[in-house]
């Protein structure tokens, strides 16, 4: 009974109008190669027709640097000013509005772990939409601090990353740990404050068996929200600090932007 409720609005999930909407959305997001995979993802996502229609999709034209929706498709002002060499690019699926805010709150702070699967599916949709042409050898996540994890009781980022890797087939490996328990980023105002608090927040894991015979050329870093990009940039810098990944290109993918 409960499995038939939409995860977002709690109303009945399956209806006659759901299938056409899923097909329509999959067609809008995919090309002919990715359509089957995308449709399968949308079909099992447990969002009802109303919520699917209301997804605030970004694009198709986005800033090539940070993935912000740009009607003209040119690089946005922030990227021209602040881009660094560590992070190659970011892409996001949805824009971060009230719906996203309430979903994130339900998942992270209320602890509704069922949403983890939904978020992994959304990330995979974003992957098929933006990163289909790139071969990633490795996917990794933005880790949570030990204290925060104990507080919350579950590691949402790792859960999502594991599911994501199951869906897309890219091997998942946790490369980093968080050594600084930063305040919540959303409580800190300003790009500079965020950037400062993220300095030296991550370090490589101590035991790092190289998961591949050869060094990976391209790593995908996944996170739930990209706001100013200070978190993923700090992670990318930490990854580049490891000798075996110094030459690796790093792209990031987030659900909300």
């Amino acid at each position: 009974m409960r499995d038939k409720c939409c995860l977002s609005c709690g109303r009945s999930w399956q209806s006659k109008s759901l299938l056409p909407i899923q097909q329509q959305l999959a067609r809008a997001l995919a090309d002919e190669n990715t359509y089957p995979a995308l449709f399968r993802l949308l079909a099992r996502m447990r969002l009802c027709a109303d919520c699917l229609v209301r997804l605030p999709l970004l694009g198709p034209l986005v800033c090539p640097g940070c993935g912000r929706g740009m009607p003209s498709g040119e690089t946005c002002a922030d990227c021209r000013r602040y881009a660094d060499e560590h992070l190659k690019q970011n892409r996001s699926l949805l824009s971060y509005n009230d719906w996203g805010r309430s979903m994130i709150r339900q998942f992270k702070y209320r602890g509704d772990e069922r949403l983890g699967d939904l978020f992994a599916d959304l990330l995979a949709v974003g992957y098929y939409r933006h990163y289909r042409g790139i071969r990633f050898q490795l996917v990794t996540h933005v880790p949570l601090h030990e204290a925060r994890m104990r507080d919350r009781g579950f590691d949402q980022a790792e859960r999502i990353a594991v599911r994501f890797s199951e869906i897309t087939g890219i091997p998942f490996f946790p490369l980093l740990t968080r050594i600084k328990n930063t305040d919540k980023l959303s409580k800190q105002g300003g790009r500079l404050a965020r950037w400062k608090s993220m300095q030296a927040a991550f370090s490589p894991r101590e035991r790092m068996p190289v998961p591949y015979g050869k060094r990976p050329e391209h790593i995908l870093l996944i996170d739930d929200i990209y706001t100013t990009g200070s978190t993923v940039r700090a992670c990318a810098a930490a990854i580049h600090g490891m000798p075996e990944f110094a030459q690796t290109a790093i792209s990031s993918l987030s659900i909300f932007r």
Binding site: M1, R2, C9, R110, G111, D112, E113, R114, M149, R150, D151, R152, G153, F154, D155
Partner: protein, 614 residues
């Protein structure tokens, strides 16, 4: 990470198992009494496992004196139990691994950090703070923070209370092994909301064990295996158990019939017999809230507290000012999710169902308003919460116009000729306060009703009554079954009735302008409101008519149709009006609703006749 120690207490040939997070406190406690021997069985970081093992131990505890061999047997039993749980948990999560750990060794944990007197005084403070509440561990800490009390090291005073049997605790989600010849099963149940089927199994980084959590009541804070759920029975407050008098300042008068019903309710609240439930069944527009006043006043005058539980926040917000006006000298609290008075203590507490779950054995009188308005699957949760919030021997008073079948069977008795007027457990008030009969719905069958509307063809059985009502200057509710129908019907009516197109509006639960639109309708700036069932109760608009479009849809059950019909003729100035059910095929619910309304009218008539004759 907290660890829980499981030990056996041997005393005069009886043995009992106990659990403690701080063994030193238990030792202090038992040392006060002579002739006790304590044997530690082992320790586990998972609270749910510890309680499961305690149950197991207690089953086997009567098997003779505790010696080394017996202790070994107990430890073996515990280990096999944990192994079995690991296996079953792995099956549920589809990931076999060691989910739970249990170490069968002695070790006495850390010594008590405080003196015994310190623990005692802290325990007193804690008990005063959470008396009558059922809270998760985190909530206790938050409450302590708010009151400015000590919040660290709460385990020791709490354990002291538990040993004194003044508090009870358990894992918020409990695990039980159910063994059967076919297959063993792990049964998880949320102790807070009673959910069993939907419990989700996962891993917790706080206890580093398998940890199931309940998604049903997740919005009140996560209830999971490793969080202690603490229930402290409410003591009657000693300070103000003084008899008050004259708390009721309400100056209105009840009609003779109302007076009789109110007196029955008061007698129930005042009776010496402990416990019991009473159903106050009054038709829509009978003045239900006023009927409660004598019963509430009686309880308050005895120096006791009253809880009024209702399924919806709107009702809480509407009820509180009315009650405060009627009882100006007492403290009336509104308790709902967003309220700031949630953690305070008053004399009359008006709470939503979810907040009722946070009370435990506190109230001598619990009133449940509109018991049937709760969504279907939550009903069991409501009854459970109400039962727990009532003090031992407390009374439950249900107040409704359309009692759900469960209540009707249990309290109103079962008679073949329809309901009777009163019994020892219920009273029925079939007449409205103004004494006029309820408007009886008219049922009209319109084949392919929604197809016609969708294609914009005129539906005369719908349009003619609307024109007629509007001509008479009445306001009109138009109920539709689904949210998706609201814009369709709205657009259709605007096209069909161009004369008043801008005085028609549509509203549904997800509508951001919902309140504004209802207000405009109330102020008669709108003539016609297309709505879903959200407005079926609680809205009183004088001089209005009602049409239900598609009354055969399962959304409209009997209770809901009776409530909708009850919107009409609420004021003494215009006691009748139009209630029209338009349906594609006839349904049991529509027929039963009409039959019920007619039956009420008949009962009211016979009552009037007897009172006239008398």
């Amino acid at each position: 990470m907290r660890e829980y120690i499981l030990y056996l207490k041997e005393e005069n040939k009886t043995t009992q198992a106990y659990i403690t997070p701080c063994f030193a406190v238990d030792k202090l406690f038992w040392e006060q009494q002579d002739g006790q021997r304590l044997h530690i069985i082992g320790r586990s970081p998972s609270l749910a496992i510890a309680f499961m093992l305690r149950e197991k131990m207690n089953e086997h505890a009567a098997e003779g004196p505790i010696d080394e061999a017996a202790l070994r047997r107990f430890r073996k039993l515990a280990e096999s139990c944990v192994r079995e749980t690991n296996l079953l948990y792995g099956r549920e999560t589809k990931e076999p691994k060691t989910w739970f750990t249990f170490s069968a060794d002695g070790g006495y944990g850390t010594p008590a950090s405080k003196e015994i007197d310190m623990i005692r005084s802290q325990a007193e403070k804690l008990s005063a703070m959470i008396a009558g509440r059922a809270l998760l561990w985190d909530e206790v800490a938050r409450l302590g923070e708010q009151r400015g009390e000590v919040t660290v090291g709460l385990e020791e005073p709490l354990q002291w209370l538990v040993l004194q049997k003044r508090a009870a605790w358990q894992p918020a989600v409990s695990l039980r092994l159910r063994k059967s010849w076919l297959r063993h099963r792990l049964q998880a149940a949320c102790e807070r909301c009673g959910e069993q089927a939907a419990i989700l199994f996962s891993f917790c980084h706080r206890c580093r064990q398998g940890c199931a959590y309940c998604p049903t009541c997740i919005n009140m804070g996560r209830s999971k295996c490793c969080t202690p759920y603490i229930c402290v029975s409410g003591e009657v407050r000693s300070g103000d158990k003084v008899r008050r008098s004259g708390v009721l300042a309400w100056k209105g008068a009840l009609t003779p019939l109302q007076g009789q019903a109110a007196e029955r309710a008061r007698a129930f609240a005042a009776s010496e017999r402990p416990g019991g439930s009473f159903l106050l069944w009054a038709v829509c527009g009978a003045g239900k809230t006023e009927l409660l006043f004598p019963a509430i006043a009686h309880t308050l005058e005895a120096g006791k507290q009253v809880l009024i539980a209702t399924p919806r926040k709107d009702v809480v917000l509407e009820l509180v000012p009315r009650l405060q006006q009627a009882f100006p000298t007492v403290r009336v609290l509104s308790v709902h999710g967003a309220s700031t008075e949630k953690w305070e203590d008053g004399d009359v507490i008006v709470a939503t169902t979810h907040q009722v779950m946070r009370y435990y054995q506190k109230f001598p009188l619990v009133v449940v308003d509109e018991a049937d308005a709760f969504p279907f699957h939550g009903n069991r949760m409501l009854y459970r919460a109400v039962q727990r919030a009532a003090a031992p021997g407390g009374k439950q008073l249900y107040l409704t116009a359309t009692p759900p079948p469960v209540l009707r069977k249990r309290l109103a008795g079962r008679t073949c000729g329809g309901p009777i007027l009163s019994s020892s457990t219920h009273v029925l008030l079939p007449q409205r306060f103004h004494g006029h009969p309820l408007p009886v719905p008219v049922r009209i069958k319109v084949p392919r009703l929604f197809d016609k509307i969708r294609h914009g063809r005129p539906v005369l059985p719908l349009l003619n009554p609307i024109r007629e009502s509007l001509r008479r200057g009445k306001r009109l509710f138009l109920f539709v079954p689904r949210i998706a129908d609201v814009p369709v019907v709205h657009a259709y009516l605007r096209r069909q009735l161009p004369a008043c197109a801008d005085r028609i509006e549509g509203v549904h639960a997800a509508d951001p302008d919902r309140e504004a639109k209802v207000l405009r309708f109330r102020e008669h700036r709108l003539d016609l409101l297309v709505t879903t069932t959200i407005l079926e109760r609680g809205v009183t608009i004088p001089d209005s008519d009602v049409i239900v479009l598609g009354a055969d849809n399962p959304v409209f059950d009997q209770a809901s149709l009776v409530q909708i019909a009850g919107r009409v003729g609420r004021s003494a100035a215009s006691p009748d009006g139009l209630v029209l059910f338009l349906l594609e095929k006839k349904t049991r619910a529509a027929i039963a609703a009409i039959r019920e309304i007619k039956r009420m009218n008949r009962l009211a008539q016979s009552l009037r006749r007897t009172s006239d004759a008398g």
